[in-house]
Every structure is written in structure tokens, then in C-alpha cells.
Point group: C2
Chain length 269, copies 2
DNA sequence: CAGTGGTCTAGACCACTGG
DNA sequence: CAGTGGTCTAGACCACTGC
């Protein structure tokens, strides 16, 4: 005898929300979207506007079910997907939490370089050294990666990461200037923890996903000096673009990895 | 009024099946295993013994539910996980199929090297050239990767892959001799399609998962000759171990990738 | 049209966490 | 103990495929 709460979609009754405005004249499917997908979008919006902060718990499944007027199972499926995308973190008996880069466990989620013995914890945390942090203008390449215009203001950071006092990674970062206004070398130096954690707490920017392009390269003279290696040491060039919610690029990064005592680990499924 | 088919586990009534014999004295949990996990194991067994062949459909969810005496939802959850692990492939309206490396779509699932323009289909299929295929004995390294003993018989294959007539990948493969008995350079040459597809159809070996260790290296003289490059061209060294069902390693492979016109693409989640 | 996977619901009960 | 996520069921109906 329930009020039969319209079990199936009514053309996305939610606030005007583009669900399929990707490519122009490609597919003309009626764009059927299951309820749980719509719920997923609503949850995503709440995350995006900061209704729930990183590392805090979101409302329980039952609460959300009431709020969205759907069954718990539907909320569950929405959360399941968000959890599998690492946006949420389920903890049985405790609740569902907004994922963060600041936690011990998931720290350095995007760093795939690990020591030859396979155990990242064996060498302790990296020593970070900020070489430079300055305002500059987006090159063609950076502009494309960050989806901004060439010449737009960006922040450029250069740093070296060392493991066991051995310089191992030389990184150049480009960040869109606006969201990261106020970022300085000092703040980077003073902050103790992953850079993405700082981005979260200080600038409300949460990196959610990234793509890397990997190549083998030889260093130039400046790079040799910074990494204290010879010009004949081949390096891994790892070019990363990191995205926040809604696939908005918020960082472009180029890392040079020394792979004498480390390797880049990747799992294929 | 159903016969209440014991909704909760009875200590894994299925045929003696090691579920958690990984590390020795680490965790002593009572190893509670939900029903759908047990179903998953049963389905896996059927896959493993070849009850359902690659690219064929497995029984429908309802049929499996009857067979295993559980609800359709439980079967569904088991299949969901297997599908997310790429062991099964769901196709709405048609059925659930055993995944294969032979299909056009999923071909070269494990090859992450793509041309600079980002479109693998733009350069057509790779030209394969078998350099060598011989019996040999496992080195320490190969033995460890394949979980066999040093000196055990292995097959060793060397080949070059070219894109647009440019030699781009030099690969060395090591395969345990027993399962691949009868593999020759001729058969490799004659077969038109991915090597893993050949493994499936000719040797009943399905690669399900793999791990790669990536480094930057410089080539030796022989490698230079085969790839037609200079000794100062840095290369990506991609060392892969590929596994069948139950995490049994069945291939160790070392690829040298030329990354002038290609890059190794990786998605971080 | 029948058969398949996909969605949704409602309700019961279990496992885990913390007070 | 109450509250949370996790499992399981039964049943209804939808979307897609192919005959």
C-alpha cells in the first residue's frame, strides 16, 4: 500500500541537469537514465558544492533514501558506484565518508613509483624540496591540458622528491592561477603532507582522477644537476593531468622519475 | 513458503576450496564469506575447468539461481563482480559471455602503448615479426615470476612489433613449457590476431590479469639493431607478469617500447 | 513475441562500530 | 545497545535483442 512513488524516471525531474551534452550529432538515443544515476548526480552535486567536507561522513543510506524519495537499495547502488570511483569511502558500521588525499592509508594514491623491494613503507616518506613557485603564463601545451587559453595566468611549481636522501623525482607543476590564488613556495614548504591534501584543505580543490602519459627520455643539463645524475641516465617522463569533479582539469604535471632503484607499477585488469 | 534455503553461509559447504591461504600468521578472522562470494567461486570453477568456453554465453541468471539454489539477486551480484574483473561480459538482452582476448573490441587489452594522436585505430594493426622461439631454462628471475623452479623448461619467444613500418616494440617472452607444449615460431607466425587470443584457442590459457613494472633504460647493441635505433635512444622497459585464473602466473614478458611517436597511457583512479 | 540482463522496491536479517 | 553499512530474498516491471 505504499504511495507508489513513481518507480521509473520522469525525464529527470531534478533541477535542469545536462546528462548527455557531450558530442554533438553523434547518438540520438532517448538518453534513458536510471534512477540511481540521477541520485548519483545529486550526490555529486552535494560533494561539489561542499555540502559534505572531505573525510566527514555523508548522511546514512536511509536518510538519503528519504531525502531523495527512493528506496535504500537505489541510494545504495548510487553510492556503490561513487565508492568504486574513489569519491566516497564506505566503512561498515560507521558510515560513508567523503574520500580525501589526506589520510594515511590512501596517501599518495596517484604516485605509482615504488622501490624495487615493492614496499613503499620501507623507505619512509619522501623528502620534499621546493625549487621554485612562480606565476607564469600558460603555454599551448599547458593551456590545452588545463582547458584554458594560451597565455592565461598559471602557477608553476618545481620540486624535487628524494627517497633515502637520493633525489629521485623532479616535478614541474602547472596550476590554474584563479583557484590556487595565494599559493606560495612558503606554504608548500611549511605544509607537512601530500600536495593534494594541501589543495583540499587550503584551496577546496579535490583531485579525483588523473591520466598519465609515460615516455622514456634523457635529461637536459639543468635536470641532471637537480637530480644529481649524468646526462646518460634514462628517465621516466610522466606527464599527468589531474581532474576534479565533472572532469575539470586542475593540474598539469610533468615528473621525471629515476628508475634505478624504483619502478613504476601498474596493474592491468 | 519457500523451503528457506539456508540464506546464510554454512562455512563454505563447497568442495574444499582455499579462500585465504595467503600470508601465514597474519589475520585470524573467522573468514565470514557472503553467499554471493561463494557463488562467485563456483562460477569461477566452471570457467576454470572449461565448462563454458571463451566468447560463449554462460547460463542465464535465473538458470544459475536455480542451479545454486539462491535468488537471482545473489547470482547477479556474483556476476557483477566477475564482470567488473573482466572475466565475464554482460550484454543486455543477449546474455552473459565469457570474456576473450579474441574480440575486436577488447583486443590488445593489455597493450597501453598508443600513438601520440591518442587514437590506436589510426595506425592500423601492428606488424608482427617473430625473431625467435626456442626452448630454454628458467633463470632465477623468470622462475620467480612464473612460480616455477630455476632451470625448469620454458619457451622463450622474441618478437618485434612495428607500427607504420617503424619497429616500435621489442619483446621477450617466457612461457612455462608444459601448458604451451607445441608452440613454435611457425604457429606464431601463421596466427593472425593477438597472441593472447592464440593462447586461448590453441592452449586453453586465458590471461585474466597482469602486472607491469616500468623503467627507463638504454638499449644494448643487439636491441639497437632489432629496433633500428641508436644506442642513445632511451626506451621504456615494461616487465609484465600475466596471470590466469586463481592468480597463476603463465607468462613473463619484457618489452622495450620506443616512445618517440607513442606513449604509455595510464588512468589513475 | 519470449528471453535476457537491468532497475526498483520493501522488508528481513547479519556484521561491524561505538557509546 | 542503537545506528551504520552489507547481504539476501521475492516480486514487479523496464530496456534490449533476436526470432
Amino acid at each position: 500500500m505504499p504511495a507508489t512513488p513513481t518507480p521509473y524516471p520522469e525525464s529527470t525531474a531534478a533541477p535542469s541537469q545536462d546528462v548527455s551534452t557531450t558530442s554533438a550529432a553523434s547518438q540520438q538515443t532517448p538518453a534513458f537514465s536510471p534512477l540511481y544515476q540521477q541520485i548519483k548526480v545529486l550526490i555529486l552535486q552535494s560533494l561539489q558544492v561542499g555540502e559534505w567536507k572531505p573525510s566527514t561522513a555523508i548522511p546514512s543510506e536511509v536518510e538519503l533514501a528519504v531525502r531523495f524519495k527512493v528506496s535504500q537499495g537505489t541510494v545504495r547502488k548510487a553510492i556503490d558506484e561513487l565508492a568504486s570511483e574513489n569519491l566516497l569511502l564506505r566503512r561498515q558500521g560507521k558510515g560513508t565518508f567523503v574520500a580525501t588525499h589526506a589520510e594515511r592509508q590512501i596517501q599518495y594514491r596517484f604516485l605509482k613509483l615504488i622501490p624495487d623491494n615493492g614496499d613503499p613503507s620501507s623507505e619512509g616518506p619522501a623528502q620534499r624540496q621546493i625549487i621554485d613557485c612562480k606565476r607564469s603564463r600558460a603555454s599551448v601545451e599547458v593551456a590545452r591540458a588545463l582547458a584554458i587559453r594560451q597565455g592565461d595566468a598559471v602557477l608553476q611549481v618545481r620540486r624535487v622528491l628524494s627517497f633515502a636522501s637520493t633525489p629521485t623525482i623532479l616535478e614541474d607543476l602547472w596550476l590554474p592561477a584563479a583557484p590556487f590564488k595565494g599559493l606560495t613556495a612558503e606554504r608548500l614548504r611549511d605544509y607537512d603532507g601530500p600536495m593534494y591534501a594541501l589543495f583540499e584543505t587550503e584551496f577546496d580543490v579535490r583531485m579525483v582522477r588523473a591520466e598519465e602519459k609515460i615516455r622514456a627520455v634523457l635529461p637536459d643539463l639543468e635536470q641532471c644537476a637537480l637530480l644529481k645524475i649524468s646526462a646518460r641516465s634514462p628517465l621516466l617522463s610522466v606527464e599527468r593531468t589531474a581532474y576534479t569533479y565533472n572532469d575539470i582539469p586542475m593540474e598539469m604535471r610533468r615528473g621525471l622519475y629515476l628508475t634505478n632503484k624504483h619502478y613504476y607499477r601498474n596493474a592491468l585488469n
